[in-house]
């Protein structure tokens, strides 16, 4: 369990200055919330003390390696590990047959095995794992495991995958779930709202375009790492079990047979602990228990600080099952640390999208009808793909009023690493296409694209065309903030040729109303215990992955209980100690965990107020808790150190602890099949303006600056909100200009081989590449968010990409409809435009620019 405290001797700054308020001022009742605060783990991270998964070493720990497929698609004929097992220092081998259950983070599409059983589906798919006394031996042993394959035709292009027939020469990547289905389709969604056809026909202008969004990956700087520890049950070791010793069914044919349990209790006794750099300890816990046939009460998942995730660690991976199985088999702790190359194979990154959009509007720029077709290139497994397919359409219906909308999305399997959720899951790609469509529409109508967006803004307290409930909405304020900050009115269309500004907007969920597996239990929970020392211990189920979750609960607890921040200890990321939270994904944590923490803290606060009121003979609500004191509201000169207030409460009520939880409202989704997907308790809104410089000789685009305005409801700590906004805009910029997860074709020699599985060749931006990023926080105070807060971690990524595309158009008049806007691609478009005489500054609406600039350079 990782513990992060707001204080401790190593912490600089000592106790936070105890701001004693003169009664809480009415304009804001908040003492800490909204201030620029340190993170509770900030100093641990700035001193090398934070212990990530690979920093953990257990006595007797073995190291393991996974053997991976060299073929994009093949049958496994045989696996011979005898030479590896004979190698000095090798302690155990597992293969797919040892773990025959399938798993999948979405319960309806369990299509993966921890290690492949009879088929590999991409170059890098795991087939066996070997544990040895050290890493060098494990690597050597992995090379001695002989796997015989029978190669199958591979599909790298989703359009080709859809043409497969399932015959001998055209096999499906997965067996169809129902006879007659195409086994290369994960999911198809067709949803239709309003009079799409009629309104399109009646539109004064219709813009049509084809777009391509290339796949990208998360590339967290920390590679995935997991450690497994198996502790056989003492009782069992005493001889109660049939075979004695470890009973994990690792022999082929014995394992994973459902029904071998009696009375619903799995037969394997003992305790499994897995440390993992995961962002979903709860889902990992569930899947470990299910796949390894263990009683969930005997499984513990510990999530140490995670070195970046971005959606790339939000489901179980082969290494977690392998360390568990190898620990059970060898009786020793086992660690696997992915190589950087393996991180690229694990992937679950942004799906490549092939998109077509038609957008119709009236002549004064009112959106009428939107019609979309999307083909998602899913890679080898489903991952979150069912949800991605819905998100590809469902999340587009705000922030603009859209009278009619239809989308048709298909996710195809291909023989590449599986795609999944990357920051802005499933909605970054359509947002790119849609916001470029809007720019084209504005141009056709000779309108200012900021004005066009403003005039279509849907406002708050409304429902979208697909029935999503939208409450707080600061979109127009966001647009106006970036319009002002960028000098839009004076500079758009007026910068010299080669320089341009572009705008885009977006909307994103703050968590999903429905959990990944259907259940009615809370989505997030917190337990708080306080004692006579004044110390507040918060047990949080949520996953700190760098976004500041542990700090957020500490701020909330300190705010509610009136203690200095460094009196709060946060214990998180350990399924044995903390209540369940579903994980760090879909921008759910601040909203849900924040509310859960308020719930728990207020239960305790009431007890403290009651006890102090009893002492003072006043009303409980006249007792304020703030800044390390209990204060008498009518006269704050009367006060008691918070520690003494806690002592009064402990004397009155006994030991002080409380749980708090949050669950989503369940009555706010669409009344159609699929209408629950995309529904969220609150939506965040964002607008960006990007400024670019385009070199027409080289096709090189330099993004000078991005102005980011984001409606996060309320910034609980503006430093962290800005950090999320900047990190998001950076990541969007990176996808716009630099990143592509691509694979070699058959003509290039190794069909399906990752083109560049390293941080040198898969280019992520350095400090020299990254533009200046300017954060502008907008607060709409959401009625249901904690203190009004909504998400900030994913929404602010979306507009970066279309804003840059639109800025390139403003700079030199070309449209970039395919990502990334890399020099070769841009240069080709420039040359096409030059040949057509269209390489010039676009005309400003209503005020033609005389200088009709063209190439200023020779």
């Amino acid at each position: 369990m990782s513990e992060t405290g707001g204080g401790g001797e190593s912490r600089p700054g000592g106790t936070d200055e105890q701001r004693v308020p003169d009664g809480r001022n009415s304009q804001s009742d908040l003492n800490l919330i909204g201030s620029r605060l340190r993170k509770v783990d900030g100093f641990a991270k700035a001193s090398g003390k934070a212990r990530y998964a690979d920093d953990i070493a257990l006595p007797g720990m073995l190291h393991a390696r996974i053997v991976r497929s060299p073929h994009p698609h093949a049958r496994i004929v045989s696996i011979d590990s005898s030479r590896a097992e004979a190698l000095d220092g090798v302690r155990g081998v597992v293969t797919g047959r040892d773990m025959p259950h399938t798993y999948g983070v979405i319960p309806w599409t369990p299509d993966e095995h921890p290690l492949c059983v009879d088929r590999v589906r991409y170059i890098g798919d795991g087939v066996a794992a070997v544990a040895a006394v050290d890493e060098d031996t494990a690597i050597e042993a992995a090379g001695l495991i002989e796997v015989e394959y029978e190669e199958l035709p591979a599909y790298l292009d989703p359009r080709k995958a859809l043409e497969a027939t399932g015959g001998e020469d055209s096999p499906y990547i997965h067996e169809p779930r129902k006879a007659g289905w195409n086994g290369n389709i994960t999911k198809k969604v067709h949803l239709d709202f309003g009079e799409v056809h009629a309104l399109m026909e009646a539109s004064d202008v219709v813009v049509e375009g084809a777009y391509f969004f290339e796949g990208t990956t998360h590339a967290p700087i920390e590679p995935h790492c997991a450690i497994g520890l198996w502790e056989p049950d003492g009782r069992e070791a005493g001889g109660l079990s049939s075979g004695g010793g470890l009973t994990f069914p690792l022999e082929p044919g014995m394992g994973g047979q459902p029904g071998k349990h009696e009375g619903g209790v799995p037969s394997s006794h003992g305790r499994l602990t897995v440390w993992s750099s995961t962002q979903v300890p709860h889902y990992l816990h569930r899947e470990l228990a299910r796949v390894l046939e263990l009683d969930p009460a005997r499984v513990r998942v510990i999530q140490p600080p995670v070195g970046g995730a971005f959606g790339g660690k939000s489901e179980p991976f082969d290494l977690e099952f392998c360390v568990a199985a190898l620990a059970m088999k060898t009786g020793r702790p086992v660690k696997i640390l992915y190589t950087r190359e393996e991180v690229f194979y694990a992937h679950r990154g942004r799906h490549p999208f092939h998109m077509r959009y038609r957008t119709g509007a009236t002549k004064d720029g009112k959106l009428q009808s939107v019609d979309a077709q999307v083909l998602l290139d899913g890679g080898a497994y489903a991952s979150f793909g069912l949800v991605t397919t819905y998100y590809s359409g469902q999340l587009l219906t705000a922030p603009y009023t859209m009278p009619a909308y239809r989308f048709d999305s298909v996710r195809a399997y291909t023989n590449k690493p599986a795609c999944g959720p990357k920051r802005g899951h499933g909605s970054v790609q359509p947002r790119f296409a849609f916001e470029v469509q809007l720019d084209k529409l504005a141009e056709k109508l000779e309108m200012d694209p900021v004005g066009l967006r403003r005039s279509n803004a849907m406002g708050g307290n409304t429902r979208t065309v697909n029935e999503l409930r939208v409450t707080s909405n600061g979109f127009v304020e966001c647009l106006e903030a970036v319009e002002r900050a960028s000098g839009w009115k004076e500079r758009w269309r007026r910068l010299p040729f080669g320089r341009g500004l572009g705008v885009a907007g977006s909307c994103y969920i703050s968590g999903t109303n429905y959990p990944v597996y259907p259940n009615d239990m809370p989505q997030s929970a917190v337990q708080i215990q306080i004692d006579r020392s004044g110390r507040v211990a918060v047990f949080s189920g949520a996953s700190e992955i760098g976004q500041g979750t542990d700090s957020m609960v500490a701020y909330v607890a300190a705010e509610e209980l009136g203690v200095p921040l460094d009196y709060v200890r946060v214990f998180a990321g350990d399924t044995d100690f903390t209540p369940v939270d579903l994980g760090a994904y879909s921008s759910r944590v601040t909203f849900m965990l924040g509310n859960a923490c308020i719930d728990a803290a207020r239960t305790l606060k009431r007890k403290v107020q009651d006890a102090v009121a009893g002492e003072w003979g006043c009303k409980p609500r006249e007792v304020l808790l703030a800044g390390g004191w209990a204060l008498f509201a009518p006269d704050t000169a009367r006060k008691l150190p918070i520690r003494e207030a806690f002592q009064l409460a402990e004397a009155m009520f006994g030991t002080l602890g409380a749980t708090g939880w949050y669950n989503t409202p369940k009555d706010i989704h669409g009344s159609y099949r699929g209408g629950t997907i995309g529904s969220s308790p609150a939506y965040s809104f964002t607008a960006h303006v990007a400024e670019v410089d385009v070199d027409v000789e080289t096709g090189f685009v330099e993004v000078k600056r991005i102005w980011i305005a984001h409606d996060c409801g309320r910034a609980l700590n503006p430093v962290l909100v800005e950090g999320q906004m900047e990190g998001s805009a950076y990541m969007g910029f990176a996808e716009a200009l630099m990143e592509e997860q691509i694979f070699k074709s058959a003509e290039q020699g190794r069909e399906g081989l990752h083109n560049a599985p390293s941080l040198l060749d898969y280019r992520i931006p350095t400090s020299l590449d990254t533009p200046e990023l300017e954060s502008l926080i907008v607060e709409s105070l959401d009625p249901e968010g904690p203190y009004g807060a909504k998400e900030a971690g994913e929404g602010p990524l979306h507009p970066s990409i279309p804003a840059i595309a639109n800025a390139i158009h403003d700079a030199v008049g070309i449209r970039m409809d395919a990502l990334p806007f890399s020099p070769p691609r841009v240069w080709r478009r420039i040359n096409e435009a030059r040949a057509e005489g269209k390489l010039k500054k676009p005309t400003a609406p209503g005020r033609p620019i005389e200088e009709e600039v063209h190439e200023s350079v020779s």
């Binding site: 000592g14 900030g42 700035a46 090398g48 950087r340 500041g548 950090g723 040198l760």
Partner: protein, 168 residues
């Protein structure tokens, strides 16, 4: 297995450390897996990411591609050695104050690059900071808060102003 070992005699954070290591070990492997100094991180193990940056005789160095014996006779400073007796190094404190460490995995390396920069250039421009940190990838922050932290620390060191105590 099969690896031959050698004895290395190192000076790390002012401590003399003598250790037996496999001959092929890098400085990073020695720090992390032999000396227990896990502050320096491994993000790629091949010189691409900068997470393993340490100071070798004051120069920011990628410890994942430095054979450990090359560090013999040099003064090695890792993130664990940056703090001063009086408290954290101003760069560390400013990272904390400015939210410059999100996941924190790039942070130890970036801190070493930044300290190396400030030691040779106490008043770097933003461009010089970008240049000095260009070998350290950060995937979380977009770098903005990192620049702010380095600038604030430079200012604090130059003016000898009090540390960040009392500031939240």
């Amino acid at each position: 297995m099969g690896a031959t070992n050698r004895i290395v005699d190192l000076n790390v954070n002012g401590d003399r450390r003598i250790a037996g290591v496999p001959t092929h070990y890098t400085l990073l492997e020695t720090l992390r897996y032999v000396l227990g100094l896990t502050g320096s991180k491994q993000g790629c193990d091949k010189g691409d990411c900068g997470a393993c940056t340490v100071l070798v005789d004051g120069v920011a160095t990628l410890s994942c591609i430095m054979p450990v014996w090359e560090a013999e006779g040099a003064e090695v400073v890792t993130v664990e050695g940056l703090a001063r007796e009086s408290g954290p190094h101003p760069v560390q404190d400013e990272f904390d104050l400015n939210g410059a460490a999100q996941c924190g995995f790039c942070t130890p390396g970036i801190l070493c690059s930044a300290v190396g920069l400030l030691e040779r250039n106490p008043a770097p421009s933003r461009e010089e900071i970008k240049e000095a940190l260009s070998g350290n990838l950060c995937r979380c922050t977009g770098y903005t808060k990192i620049y702010n932290a380095v600038e604030a620390a430079a200012e604090r060191i130059r003016t000898g102003s009090a540390d960040g105590a009392g500031r939240r």
